[in-house]
Structures are given as C-alpha cells and as structure tokens.
C-alpha cells in the first residue's frame, strides 16, 4: 500500500488501530450491504466499549449483533431495534446506551460529518422525544430542530466493486448508508466483492470517489437474507 493504492491483504491490517472506546460507523441496512468480515474482525479483536453508529444492529447471531452479544458495544446510535431481540433486551434493561435516531436524520448526520457540516436543521422529530433538549427554530412558519453531525474514528463500508484507488461502486439496495459512511470516518475501511483495474470503472458511474477511502480489502460474503419473500405461483 503506497501512494494512491489503498489495498491491504489481511483483515487484521484493515482494522489496525481500532481501540477500545472508539466510534465506528457502519454501512448496511438490516443485513443488506453490511461489511460482514470487518464486523467479524472487530469481534475477533474483542475491542470493547465501542460506540456503533448504524441504522440497525444486525440480528442476534449475525452482523453487528455479534458485537452486542459479546458485550463489545457501549452505545448504539441507530434508527431501528426491531428484529434483534438481544438489542431490545439490552436497551430495555438499560445495559446499553442507545440514541434512537430517525433514519433520515441519521443518514444526514453521517453525510454532514463527512461533508464538513457540523449541524443542520430538520423538521423530523419535532414534537417527539427526539427533539428534547435540541435547539428549535422557525423557518417559513414551520418548526425545525438542530441536529449535529457524526464523525467516526473508523468507518466500515461494504461495496460491490472497487479499484486500488478506492473508487467504489455499490450494487442495488446494498448501497443504502454505505456512501455516506465512507465519507465520515477518520479512517475509512472498505471491503468489496471484486477488485477491478484502475481505469476500468466508468468515471461517470463511480458512486464513491477514492479520496474518501483509506484501506481496501477484497472479501467473500455470505449475504444472509433477513426476510426471504418470494412469489408463489
């Protein structure tokens, strides 16, 4: 790895420098488009006291849920708890600090973190628990609350294809939070299914420019499906 080449060859190298009590932002929605091997690496490292920022926390035995079960997570910033019983249990038992954040606000907070916007106003959450303690302001007769950006010590991302410069392309709804997450880490680590030659990706079709990416690794993925719904003839 030198110059613009972001490729690393071990998951250990990919997550080197991750320490207890750091903040990690993760891409993925449910189990779709999650950096599953980077999560596994955090699990094996046994890093503790983590703040995890992610829309969901996986399911109990897969995805970010494995960090929850192993008590590696001190605080979750997420929009959705459902479908993970252990998450709900730890939350209700006050064993886990949770900042429930509306999904769109969460996406925007992460984007803002990467884009040098420390805070922004939104109407989402006005009049709810989410608005408590936040600055309120009226624009055009409507009330808005001020939400602050999120920056992570690490950002972990799953993309479909990449070149060594870290130019990324996502596939279908596995894109979800990944493009914003990629911008919001002090160290951004990306795992992909396929490495292509520099120059092979059409510049007009790159979703995340390599400037945001610090480390890149090629993995194999289980891609577990949460709700396998099919048409019955």
């Amino acid at each position: 790895m030198a110059g613009l080449d972001k490729l690393v060859t071990s998951y250990e190298a990919a997550m080197a420098g991750l320490e207890d009590n750091m903040t990690v932002i993760s891409g993925g929605f449910g189990l779709c488009g999650i950096p599953e091997n980077l999560i596994q690496e955090i699990y094996h490292k046994e890093t503790k006291g983590l703040t995890i920022v992610s829309n969901n926390c996986g399911i109990e035995e897969y995805g970010l849920g494995i960090l929850l079960s192993k008590r590696q997570i001190k605080k979750m910033v997420a929009s959705y708890v459902g479908e993970n019983g252990e998450f709900e249990r730890q939350l209700m038992a006050n064993e886990l600090e949770v900042e429930l954040t509306p999904q769109g606000t969460l996406a925007e907070k992460i984007r803002a973190g990467g884009a040098g916007i420390p805070a922004f106003y939104t109407a989402t959450g006005v009049g709810t628990l989410v608005a408590e303690g936040k600055h309120h302001k009226i624009y055009n007769d409507r009330e808005y609350i001020l939400e602050e950006a999120i920056v992570g010590d690490f950002a972990i991302v799953k993309a479909w294809k990449a070149d060594r410069h870290g130019n990324l392309v996502y596939r279908k709804t596995a894109r979800n939070f990944n493009p914003m997450v990629a911008t919001a880490g002090k160290i951004t680590v990306v795992e992909v299914e396929e490495l292509v030659e520099v120059g092979e990706l059409d510049p007009d079709e790159i979703h995340t420019p390599g400037i945001y990416v610090d480390r890149l690794i090629v993995g194999t993925f289980e891609k577990r499906i949460e709700q396998r719904t099919v048409l019955t003839a």
Binding site: F29, G125, A174, V230
Partner: protein, 218 residues
C-alpha cells in the same frame, strides 16, 4: 363487518393518483400494490434506497442485495432507480413523495401519531417513520380502530411517545375512513355493514358526523 387486510389495502389504493410517488410502510401498506386501479401509474419508494419497487421475486430471482425497507426481498420495475439513504431521505424530507401510507399504534384529534414504542414493553425504533410523517403532505395511517381488548386507538391525546406531531390528516381503520381537522375526527366513510354507532363507541377522541355517512365502495 370490519375490513380485511386486503380491503384496507384496496381502499387505500383508491386514494392513489396517476403519476404518484408513494412510500408504503410495513404491514398492510405492502398489500396496496395488489389493488392499484387500472389506468393509474405509480412508483413505489422504499426508503432504503429504491424508487420503483416491484413484486416479490421468484425463487430463482431472489437477490440479497435487493430488499425493501421491511427487509423483504423484492424486484424492480422498469424505470426504477437506486440511491443512497441520504438521497432517499432527501426525497422524503424534501416533500417529493406524494403519498405515504403507514401503520400506527395511536392517532389523536390533533393529528399526532404514535407508532414506534410502548414504554417498558416494546421498542421497535422509529426507522424512517419520523422522517416520513414530517416530510409528506399527504399521509394515510392504516390501523385497526381498536385494540383486541376494545381500547380505541383514535384518541383525544396519544398516550405513547409520538412519532410525529400534528401531521396526520387521514386515517383508515378496519371500521372507518376518517379525516382529522380542526382538532376533531370527521367520519367520512364506514366499512360495509358497520354502523355509525359502532364507530362512535370505539372512537375515544371527538368524532364529528355530518349527515348520512356513506359506506366504502369497492
């Protein structure tokens, strides 16, 4: 008789306008596409980053990378587009979605909605619901009129933590189609065979009845 889940979806579908971009929440709303009237073309938005959601895939076409906001495997229609969650909520927050249909635990006469937690009992999280109710002008809440214990879900004041404040104008329950304005519920239609009295009995918040209340047409 109380509407079936399919009838609820069918009645919602009558509210669609040609060319609408529509976000359908989890549960009953996901059945709406089965009842889109002829000659009406709509695009379904799924807040995890898909505009142009199609039906469930066949077994061979299941794709782990293509799910909806309920984490169900889906397909795309012609003309679909894919984007990030930030872009998806830019659409929603920015008011570009024409109609949002979602479920709730409670709704009250001031258009407040509660749908994401029951303190001490259940915490699902708000997911995208807070953004959806804040972003859309046109929202239809679908839910049962009362709990299985007979407790009304149409209240003077929501008792649960709110998902949104003063944002709901239309509620479709298994018994009635109701409009919210001026701090009151207004009974627009009743389910076939359901009496106005029955609806009054199960509506805790103030309910205005203006003349004869028509039955829903299917």
């Amino acid at each position: 008789m109380a509407l079936s889940r399919n009838q609820l979806a069918q009645r919602v579908a009558q509210e669609l306008n040609d060319g609408d971009y529509v976000n359908l929440g989890i549960g009953i709303p996901t059945l709406v596409p089965n009842f889109i009237p002829d000659g009406i073309e709509v695009m379904l938005q799924s807040e995890n980053g898909l505009l142009g959601m199609g039906v469930f895939p066949t077994e061979e076409n299941v794709d782990a990378d293509l799910i909806n906001a309920g984490k169900q495997t889906v397909t795309m229609v012609k003309g679909a587009s894919l984007f990030s969650s930030a872009e998806s909520f830019a659409m929603i927050r920015g008011g570009h979605v024409d109609l949002t249909v979602l479920g709730a635990f409670e709704v009250d006469v001031n258009g407040n909605i509660a749908s994401y937690m029951i303190p001490g009992k259940l915490i699902k999280g708000m997911g995208g619901a807070m953004d959806l109710v804040a972003g859309a002008d046109n929202i239809i809440v679908t839910m049962t009129h009362a709990s299985k214990y007979g407790d009304s879900k149409l209240l003077t004041n929501c008792s649960l933590p709110l998902t949104g404040k003063g944002c709901i104008k239309k509620v479709l329950t298994d018994l009635a189609f109701i409009e919210i304005k001026n701090g009151k519920f207004h009974l627009l239609e009743r389910a076939p065979g359901v009496s106005v009295e029955e609806i009054i009995k199960l509506t805790e918040g103030e309910l205005v009845i203006n003349g004869d209340v028509p039955e829903m047409q299917f």
